[in-house]
């Protein structure tokens, strides 16, 4: 343990610096081309323009305290709800509703200084009591398992209207990071009666209309305490059909496709000067999961053989149009502890067959049960055929997603292998640190390392998490087929679109029309 590092007080950049950075970002965004007349000043004012985004999977409710799914925080976090802290485009934790924070020497007490001019769209000022209320409410009223990240909070107190002191039961690096996700959102004590359809936050946007089955319309919050975002109105239009989504962009019905659903359709946008294509990484690891409760998977040689049997590059070329990154473990390149581990598992069908022979599993039959999701269905067939090449018989079937897959694979564990993308940020502990989770991976070494990483200094966390990723890969805890790409197609003059999908939010405040 490096006591010097733990002992040092970690102060974080103040609001001024952050505001300056934001101003710079908006500046460079606005001046990338010669600004036409009527272009707004770079910071603070905003324009009267409107933007229409095309997204998939409309949420059934706007309440992420009880409803699961990535669509709600994607639309509302940072834009409508703010936390004390948020992630910037580089994945750094930066101030939001706090101006700065101070961590005690033992890493257990966090003191947040709050901005003093934020108010909720209901008109009430945001004060320390709202922060206390919001944090405590995660522990008492939230029903999603993500709320467990708040269990480490022992107490939270309002020292003054602009100062909150949070005491953890043990030091936790992960806690501050989770405060950038939905569980860190600050609610008004008087504003949680109808979260499903009337969300009330402090953010730069507020809910104007929710046309169910069609769109969510956000309008700029004119009383916002910070810099006004560029667009006065942002419509999030939801599509279930990828062709309809593409047609809407090509016919001018929408300005941005936030996630291209069928990468094989990308060539139709190529060479179109009116459009830009952004290709980056996400947090979505496409995991070929092994059911560790199933007998064959208790033998590491079987797990390794499966990983060796798969030619990952040819797989991604065949089933996802070659888009996406190869990863050798459960860590995306945007995490601080990313290392390229793809070399750990080369494509070696001969070695795979040999390992299966040593494990006396030359007549192995495995059930691969994939959800009805595009990447899972198409990649499932490739996995099956590559495994058959080394002598494993694969019984492939598809389960309707979400209902049947959740029941049979996720809840009843009635499967040998499955394929699903884990899109939550920093999800190693959730997937491989919890033996109760659907893969049933129970490795004491990994669990101990995860606990150490959480309790250590940020530097130690990086080193230890690198080791965790390596152990998971060497132990063949699962196979990682590839990382889902961040594929955005948009009108060429839209600026501020995220290169990589990092946090849970789609940050609308960075967008502008140049």
């Amino acid at each position: 343990m490096d006591s010097d590092l733990i002992g040092s007080t970690r102060m974080v950049a103040g609001a001024l610096a952050a505001a300056a950075l934001l101003g710079l970002a908006a500046c460079s965004a606005g001046s990338s081309t010669s600004p036409p007349e009527g272009t707004p000043p770079p910071s603070g004012e905003g324009s009267d323009e409107a933007l229409v985004l095309g997204l998939v999977a409309e949420p059934a409710s706007l309440d992420f305290t009880t409803e699961d799914g990535a669509a709600i925080p994607q639309a509302l976090l940072v834009n409508l709800y703010e936390g004390l802290v948020k992630l910037d485009q580089d994945g750094e934790i930066v101030p939001a509703l706090s101006t700065e924070w101070d961590v005690s020497d033992d890493g257990r007490t966090y003191t947040f200084e709050l901005v003093d001019n934020a108010e909720f769209t209901s008109g009430e000022p945001m004060t320390a009591t709202d922060v206390v209320f919001s944090i405590e409410r995660v522990q008492t009223d939230w029903t999603t398992s993500l709320a467990a990240a708040m269990d480490v909070v022992e107490s939270v107190e309002a020292d003054s209207p602009t100062r909150v002191v949070v005491t953890l039961s043990a030091p936790s690096n992960d806690w501050l990071y989770r405060m950038t996700t939905r569980i860190g959102a600050i609610f008004s004590e008087a504003g949680v009666d109808d979260l499903a359809s009337t969300p009330i936050g402090t953010g730069p946007y507020q809910l104007d209309a929710w046309n169910r089955g069609d769109s969510i319309v956000l309008t700029r919050n004119d009383d916002y305490w910070g810099d006004a975002p560029h667009f006065a109105e942002v419509t999030l239009r939801y599509f279930d059909d990828p062709t309809a989504l593409n047609s809407a962009l090509l016919s001018g019905g929408i300005d941005v496709i936030t996630t291209v659903q069928a990468p094989e359709a990308l060539p139709q946008f190529d060479g179109n000067d009116d459009l830009q294509i952004i290709e980056g990484t996400t947090n979505g690891e496409v995991v070929l999961s092994f059911n560790h409760r199933s007998a064959p998977f208790q033998d590491i040689r079987v797990r390794q053989a499966i990983r060796l049997a798969i030619d990952h590059q040819s797989l991604i070329d065949t089933c996802w149009a070659g888009r996406g990154e190869l990863i050798g473990s459960m860590v995306p390149p945007t995490d601080p502890w990313y290392e390229d581990l793809t070399a750990l598992v080369p494509h070696d069908p001969n070695l795979a067959a040999q390992l299966l022979g040593e494990a006396e599993q030359t007549d192995l039959t495995l059930r691969l049960r994939v959800p009805t999701l595009p990447y899972a269905e198409s990649c499932g067939q490739v996995v099956a055929s590559q495994l058959e090449d080394v002598g494993i018989t694969v019984a492939l079937d598809t389960l309707e997603f979400p209902a049947q897959w959740l029941q049979q694979v996720f809840t009843d564990h009635d499967y040998d292998m499955s394929i699903v993308a884990h899109v939550e940020p920093r999800d190693v502990p959730a997937v491989f640190g919890n033996p109760e989770y659907y893969p049933g991976y129970d490795n004491a070494e990994v669990q101990d390392l995860l606990a150490e990483a959480d309790a250590g200094t940020p530097d130690e966390q990086v080193t230890i998490m690198q080791e965790v990723a390596r152990v998971l890969s060497e132990d063949a805890a699962s196979d990682w087929l590839f990382l889902l790409p961040n594929l955005i197609v948009a009108d060429a003059d839209i600026t501020g679109l995220p290169e990589n999908g990092i946090g849970e939010a789609f940050d609308l405040t960075l967008l502008a029309r140049g």
Binding site: A60, T66, D68, A196, D214, A244, A248, A403
Partner: protein, 314 residues
Amino acid sequence: MLLRVLVRSGVFLASLIVSSVLVFWFLAGLPGDPARVALGVNATEEAVAALREEFGLNRPLVTQYVDWVGGMLAGDPGRSYVSKAQIGPQLADRLQVTLWLVGTATVIAVLIALPAGTLMAVRHGRLSGLLLAAMSQVGVAVPAFLAGILLVALFAVRLGWLPSGGWTPPVEDPLMFLQQLALPALALGLVQGAVLSRYVRSAVIDVLREDYLRTARAKGLTPFRALRRHGLRNAMVPVVTVLGLQLSTLLVGAVVVERVFVIPGVGNLLLSAVADRDLLLVQAVVMVLVVAVLVVTFVVDLLYAVIDPRLRRG
């Protein structure tokens, strides 16, 4: 006539009861726990159990059925498991949208089918008749969603004349409403019109062979005038039947077309409700669709009597 109405009403009521039982039990038996699906992957076991309790999913199916039918009869299908919103108003909103779509498509279908079908019959055996018949055959073979995709590719993406999808209520912006309605209504209407024109054609051909028509022709009427004066009314009996039957096809077509054109109608509501295992919502939507089909069948039955006086005695 009265007896006919009474018998038909009895059949209508019996069909209603049987279909409500089928809809309820079949959907309740779908694999997948609705409470788990409603709350998602990250929901705790306690939350799932609490939701099951809240919505009475632990009660015997018979109790749930009786409650449900009672609610439906009172016009209150309950609250959605997923959004917790009242189903009634939501369903009413969506129904309006679908009615516009299906109604316009039906009008388009009839406007296409009557002239095209009659022309095919009168030109039967000649080249122009054959060409028309071939075209209608193509129309029959194309599913509505494909017609939709093709129309979008041409009129929205290539030519940029019409929006590729979306929906605006007519009171909000009538022009936008018509623009957005045009392509989906055409997609549905063209296909249905092609199917219907085949029936119009064969009905008219049958009528043309009748003695009374030959008599009319012998009196010096042209084929079209003879048809208009004496034949079309007779040809309409089978055509109205098919139009009634087609309403169920239209509703199914609407489900898919709404998906392609991103229209917030009943079809889209149904598909997302099924995916979310929002059981009460699915049951309410399916039941409303079943009732719609039964009502149309009932009305068509009565319409026969209006068109064909002979049936009034039956």
